[in-house]
């Protein structure tokens, strides 16, 4: 079920601009198995890379003996850190200006770390080679607990880093500490909750991989790889491998169809670099495709924030201040993919949808013997952690002052008149109408009836809970004054070319991984140019042809590249207007624009179509005009966008087993003006399911020796259709005042908003027993422990 959106289409169904639920142009090939993913690529003479990985979390490498591996039929070479050291390629920078090993020369820092690369003529021979490499380790005691990592007697893990005297990576803070503390000192009510948003892992259907093809004659490198940011990767390759002769004009990165990215395909993983190094050394194409266990055990994780949060309020529950102290476990390297100036991402959005006087947030990041990270898993850089924290503790406050959690939220919402709103932690929220989303959500789910039902059930001893979450997102990174990655500003780009017959190709600096860019972008161009979306071919991902951009993550594609598409299309429309005036022999100011057609004011039968103008751009130009119909725009957004929503969830708890059933889940989102309602709904559905995962199932855990306890889908529990409730979605529309289409980006709202809604529902079911918090994932055994402790387990 889906409630209606309010921005209706302006264009005809034929043009299919904004507001039309156009079927996705990419789906025929995906649904017929005709997508072209990394592993579909083969080249003549292609070799295979497979990787030897560390069985221990921390230790010295005493010896690597490859002799038996080299005897395996088909094995050609075994690459170690020492081999790469000869080229100074054994370490690489992370996007956060930390460093990470490609292959170790002497020490392994986490279980499953890459130790050696085996190159062979087939995937099978490579795997046999891996099994035959003998590595001798001298294990050391790992640091697994991030709190222990900061204790004075903890061994310093990054002895490779000059001046590193402990395991702290950085300290970050935002807000006025003193002013915040003052409010806490005098506040009527203070609530506090410690919570962990646990380490989780992206579980894209397609794992990571690449096919590196170095042409030794021309010094040209082509890398087909699973990357969300091909242009940035090309630049990084040029920067880190310039000294071995790779030059940016001779590097081509191609990101073909990508089977899900979710942030996990932003970083550069050692496997890519080993494959490239092997191709350069051997002069042959080398393919590397990681398997599921490698993906889960070695690639960048997400989240892992330990938060200690407090709210100061007056006795009526009016929030006055927020204070959060956070410990961030980054594994052995800070391998996030966040904007350079934001080590804690956009965590300072933690004040959320609520107006308050002050806030102060701090994060300390530490090294541990775990895989490096963390990526922004379907989230605009730590927004998930921030929202979980705020939306959980707001419920604690409601509980404390004896108010309904929805009411308490409403009483604290930033009022609609207050936008643009300056948050205490420095954001300028562009627009919002939180009450509208709350009203719609309550109405859709029948909130008051549910509360009545809950009261009756409590009488009978049944456990049912209702959870509310009113989140505010911050996305579309970002304005160049604040946002860059490795110095490169976080603009994005579009290049639109209309052919003589009125058909177009539009290329973007982003890269779809399943979001439907080929459709959404075509609709954006259609909206602005009046060409049918069906006639707009969208291309991304090839650095040789697409304009430079920073890629797709953090819900930034529509806010940045989508806006660039609008601007480029508007340039073309302006040019077309001049051509139309020429064709109709009138002045430009005498023309009227209806999507697809210029007509003479007052003489509507005198008109030309956009297609006529395109043809004329190649055949019949006004004098002095540059031929062709092509425009480019690099869009530097003036601000971020701030989508929001209210989610309400109803759960039932089995008192025998502790199982939680999500009975209903209503998600009302406001992502501004909607381009393709069907795609937006799909994004919400997918995001909600990826929020359900960490709320109830997913967690990457380690034992005290650093062994990964969830290294396969047997224990890393990703929800399936069976676990997924029937999502009910609705929309309010509060356009972004600064985005040229009034759109805001929607890819991640649901992942961010769902976990606290579910957690709040479970806590709500148990609130009358005195429960104020449950750590996620809320596993049945965890719930059962609480039921037993409270004496209600049966």
């Amino acid at each position: 079920m889906a409630a209606e959106t309010s921005n209706g289409p302006r264009t005809s169904a034929k043009i299919c601009g904004m507001g039309h639920s156009m079927k996705r142009k990419e789906d025929p090939r995906f649904l017929q198995g005709k997508g072209n993913y990394i592993d579909d690529h083969t080249l003549p003479g292609m070799l295979w890379l497979d990787i030897v990985r560390s069985p221990i979390a921390y230790g010295k490498i005493v010896n690597i003996d490859a002799s038996k591996a080299l005897e395996v039929d088909g094995v050609l070479a075994v690459l170690t850190g020492k081999d790469l050291e000869a080229y100074n390629l054994h370490w690489m920078p992370t996007l956060m200006s930390d460093t990470q090993m490609v292959l170790p020369t002497d020490t392994v820092m986490y279980q499953s770390q890459e130790v050696a690369g085996v190159i062979a003529t087939s995937r099978y021979a490579a795997a046999d080679g891996v099994a035959a490499v003998e590595v001798e380790y001298e294990p050391m005691t790992p640091v697994i607990d991030p709190f222990k990592a900061l204790e004075t007697d903890a061994p310093v893990l990054r002895t490779d880093k000059e001046g590193q005297e402990d395991n702290r990576i950085w300290h970050w803070e935002a807000g006025d500490k003193e002013a915040t503390d003052r409010i806490f000192d005098e506040a009527d009510v203070v609530v506090r909750e410690k919570m962990h948003v646990p380490r989780i892992h992206v579980a894209s259907i397609e794992t990571c991989g690449c096919l590196a093809d170095f042409n030794p004659v021309e010094g040209h490198l082509t890398v087909y790889m699973t990357t969300q940011a091909p242009h940035a990767i090309r630049t990084v390759l040029a920067l880190v491998a310039g000294h071995v002769g790779l030059s940016e004009e001779k590097i081509r990165v191609v990101s073909p169809d990508i089977g899900g990215g979710f942030g996990g395909k932003v970083p550069v993983y050692p496997g890519y670099v080993i494959a490239i190094a092997a191709s350069v050394v051997l002069g042959k194409p080398v393919k590397w495709i990681e398997d599921r266990m490698e993906n889960l055990q070695a690639d960048s994780f997400a989240r892992d924030y330990h938060m200690d949060a407090e709210i100061a309020a007056d006795s009526s529950g009016k929030i006055r201040a927020l204070r959060i102290k956070t410990l961030a476990d980054h594994g052995y390297s800070d391998a996030q993919a966040a904007p350079s100036k934001f080590p804690a991402g956009l965590f300072s959005i933690c004040t959320g949808s609520y107006d308050m006087e002050q806030a102060y947030a701090e994060v300390d990041a530490v090294y541990t013997n775990k895989p490096p990270g963390g990526v922004a898993y379907r989230c605009s850089f730590r927004v998930t952690e921030a929202v979980h924290c705020m939306e959980r503790i707001v419920d604690t406050l409601a509980h404390k002052v004896g108010k309904d959690p929805a009411t308490l939220r409403e009483e604290n919402f930033i009022p609609k008149e207050a936008f643009p709103y300056h948050s205490p932690l420095g954001w300028e929220y562009d627009s919002g109408d939180y009450q509208a989303a709350m009203d719609m959500a309550k109405e859709m789910i029948g909130y008051d009836d549910l509360r009545r039902e809950q009261a009756e059930k409590r009488e009978r001893g049944e456990l049912m809970g209702i959870g509310v979450c009113s989140f505010t997102e911050v996305l579309g990174a970002g304005p160049s004054k604040d946002f860059d990655i490795l110095g490169i500003k976080m603009f994005d780009s579009a290049e639109v070319r209309v052919h003589p017959t009125g058909k177009a190709i539009a290329r973007f600096g982003t890269k779809s991984q399943g979001q439907g860019h080929e459709t959404t972008y075509a609709q954006i161009i259609a909206e602005e140019l009046g060409l049918p979306a069906a006639h707009v071919q969208v291309e991304e991902g090839d650095t040789d042809t697409a304009p430079y951009g920073l890629g797709t993550y953090a819900s930034r594609s529509t806010p940045t590249a989508g806006a660039a598409g609008v601007m480029a299309a508007r340039k073309l429309r302006d040019k077309a207007r001049k051509i139309a005036a020429h064709l109709l022999e009138v002045g430009e100011e005498d023309l009227e624009w209806e999507p697809g057609t210029f007509s003479v004011k007052g003489a509507p039968d005198k008109s030309v179509t956009i297609q006529d103008c395109a043809f004329a751009a190649y055949t019949n130009l006004p004098e002095g005009m540059e031929p062709g119909m092509e425009a480019t725009n690099y869009y530097d957004p003036p601000n971020l966008t701030f989508p929001f929503g209210t989610y309400i969830c109803v759960v039932d708890i089995d008192r025998g087993t502790g199982e939680v059933t999500v009975r209903r889940f209503v998600a009302v989102d406001d992502c501004g003006n909607i381009i393709n309602p069907m795609i937006v709904q799909g994004q919400i559905h997918g995001g909600l399911t990826q929020g359900l995962g960490p709320a109830l199932f997913e967690e990457m855990t380690y034992d005290e020796d650093g062994n990964n306890l969830a290294g396969s889908f047997m224990d890393y529990l990703v929800p399936t259709a069976v676990e997924t409730p029937a999502w009910e979605t609705g929309h309010t529309v509060t356009p972004s005042p600064h985005h040229p289409l009034g759109a805001k980006g929607v890819g991640e709202s649901a992942t961010v908003g769902a976990p606290p809604a579910i957690a709040n529902a479970v806590v709500d079911a148990l609130a009358h027993l005195g429960v104020t918090h449950m750590e996620i994932p809320i596993r049945p055994d965890r719930v059962w422990e609480v039921l037993r402790e409270k004496g209600v387990a049966i």
Binding site: T657, G658, F697, A710, T720, P780, D781, A793
Partner: protein, 319 residues
């Protein structure tokens, strides 16, 4: 996820298969491959030879014959799910098949393979314990029948000798057609599994099969437990608690297998008996703490599920 090298053999007859198993070094039988292939890919099993019995004709039959439900070596979970006799007369088997893995796996996985694998996390062993099944093993010297209680020896260990193939599982048929057995019994069974998500191995699984007389007294009880110890467990003490107890009011049972499914009238102290049996089942477990939960949790889940499975079995016996 890449298996090591092995030689693959696809015999066309049982004799040929037994011959290969007798002559080849380090050979392993493969039926559905749904446990064996993952082990190969993880290089947890590295047999030199694989003898795929999947193409041998005649091993895929399922049906009642001579007082038994006979399940051939190549009967898949899907075939079991789609079998009308199973649906009508052995709902416990249908319960079990439905909670194993996913439809893709079930299309290939066999019941015999599930049992032969000797994995206490597999679901069919508990059901077979509750149903008091017999395992027919065929080796170079012919057939022998092994009672289910003698079959499971420990983690991945069974009574099957090297070179033997589990060719059939025989389950005693509930006596008589259309209702009470020779002894006038009413039969009902159920398998309940607590899993973290669909397709997961059990946190705890409980199989209960009951026979009741017209007087509402239990004449035979079978209780088997999944993933609660190093081998599938028969909860004998729970069976003893149930056997002879009156769970249903006299006359409270209609003809078994009738379509009417309303609540049956429980005997006055039935709830206590069921609770005692459930506790006895919990006491029979020896679980380990892992990501599925603590020892405490698993024991309690054995208790909770046993109680619920008995109730479901009763409801089925009652009509």
């Amino acid at each position: 996820m890449i298996p090591p090298q092995f030689d693959y053999h696809a015999p066309g007859s049982l004799e040929e298969a037994l011959g290969l198993l007798g002559s080849l070094d380090d050979a392993k039988v493969m039926s559905g491959g749904q446990s064996l292939l993952p082990m190969l890919k993880l290089r947890l099993a590295t047999p030199a030879n694989i003898v795929d019995i999947g193409r041998i004709p005649g091993l895929d039959s399922i049906g009642e014959e001579g007082g038994y439900l006979r399940i051939g070596a190549l009967v898949t979970e899907t075939a079991l799910e789609e079998n009308a006799t199973v649906a009508a007369r052995y709902p416990i088997l249908l319960d079990t098949a439905k909670v194993i893995a996913d439809p893709l796996v079930r299309n290939r996985a066999t019941i015999c393979g599930n049992v032969a694998h000797g994995d206490p996390a597999n679901d069919h062993p508990a059901t077979m314990l509750a149903l008091r099944a017999q395992m027919v093993a065929t080796g170079p010297d012919g057939e022998r029948t092994i009672g289910v209680d003698d079959f499971f020896h420990g983690l991945f260990m069974t009574a099957l000798a090297e070179g033997e193939i589990l060719t059939e599982i025989r389950i005693p048929a509930p006596g008589g057609v259309g209702g009470g057995g020779a002894d006038g019994a009413h039969h009902g069974g159920a398998y309940l599994k607590l899993e973290r998500k669909v397709g997961d191995y059990a946190v705890a699984g409980v199989a209960v099969q009951l026979a009741l007389g017209d007087d509402g007294k239990v004449t035979q009880a079978g209780v088997g437990l999944t993933n609660l110890g190093m081998a599938p467990i028969r909860a004998s003490a729970a069976e003893e608690v149930l056997t002879g107890a009156r769970l249903v009011e006299r006359g409270g049972l209609r003809g078994a297998f009738s379509k009417v499914r309303d609540a049956i009238a429980r005997a006055p102290d039935a709830d206590e008996v069921i609770a005692a049996a459930a506790q006895a089942a919990a006491d029979a477990t020896d679980p380990v703490a892992d990501r599925r939960g603590s020892v405490e949790y698993k024991r309690n889940m054995a208790r909770v599920l046993t109680g619920r499975a008995i109730a479901k079995a009763l409801a089925r016996a009652g009509g």
